[in-house]
Symmetry: C2
Subunit: 171 residues, 2 copies
DNA sequence: TGTATCTCCGATACATCTTGTCGGATATAG
DNA sequence: CTATATCCGACAAGATGTATCGGAGATACA
């Protein structure tokens, strides 16, 4: 499959929600789960992975929660996919044991596909979360959260876009 | 997952094999399967789909087999994926029933992800099979096949490439 | 004309991965 | 001390992909 997993969808929904939250506030996992009707425990793990990769920060304790650790300009879709799905893929031989493919010499597609894979990754790494959130925040959500103490907000950077084409697969 | 399925891998292997075959010859499914040690029946179905989508042509009968129906410049990776995997994906809501997502109004990621999906498709549609086969054919394979009668070879076209990036997901 | 050998096609068991759930540990505000 | 949040590993359920089987249609060749 070339598509994203449900987990990544959930993660992106959560990131958009966090991006829409007022600066200085933390959001509980349960709030996001209830907003989009997602299983709380599953979303919790996803947020843990996002926190581990450094794009969101966590605050433990009763008044705790999550908040964005970077600007939406500084979080790429590729990073989100990598954090949640563990990332590398495209060619099948490379996923499990490399040596299991007992005919590496006969495999005529491995090396070229690795190059193509790199191009797909490059594309996803150029697209940032701000392209999903948009310039203006939705601002239609209610937050019953608290003030955050550890301010680890980093400065924003810029991104550009490229790539266009003439024919589509189906869409 | 962002990766290709095993079926697509098999399909690409078969296409490369067919591309390496001398013009005017047909190749049996079994030959390709034995060359790469793939299950014959599964590969047969994959080749049927590729034939149905028009990128390879079939010849029935004892001396039958498959041959490329277009130039390797005229077969894109996106088309191969679409032919084998049925294509559309990326965002999860769009895969099964559209109306099942009973909170379309709250879904903040559907529309932006559709745009991103189109970009990925564009990229895959710009990459042709000739980038996998290379300019010169491998020419290290033995063909025990026969002459083809129905010559449905179409003229070749040209393709260009674009897209580059600075940071990668992991590779 | 029969037979062998291809492509074709639907249905179905098997494997693997994803999704979802459970139980318990750690940290902190009140 | 207690309630409530993040954490973390392990496992059951479900979905998806992979592989297999049985049989039908087409054609070269004896």
């Amino acid at each position: 499959m070339i598509g994203l997993s449900k987990r990544t969808d959930y993660g992106l929904l959560a990131l958009v929600y966090l991006a829409a939250a007022p600066v200085g506030r933390v959001v509980r996992t349960r709030d996001i789960a209830e907003q989009h009707d997602l299983p709380v425990e599953l979303l919790a793990k996803i947020l843990q992975r996002l926190a581990k990769s450094g794009m969101i920060a966590s605050t433990p304790g009763p008044t705790g929660g999550y908040h964005l650790a970077r600007s939406t300009d500084d979080i790429s879709i590729g990073q989100v996919v990598a954090a949640i799905e563990g990332a590398p893929a495209l060619i099948h031989c490379e996923r499990t044991d490399h040596n299991r493919c007992n005919q590496l010499d006969k495999c005529t597609i491995r090396k070229p596909l690795t190059r193509i894979q790199a191009r797909v990754y490059d594309l996803l790494n150029l697209i940032t979360l701000s392209e999903i959130t948009g310039p203006e925040p939705p601002d239609e959500l209610v937050f019953q959260s608290q003030i955050v103490r550890s301010n680890t907000i980093k400065p924003a950077t810029a991104r550009d876009r490229s790539v266009r084409g003439e024919e589509a697969i189906r869409a």
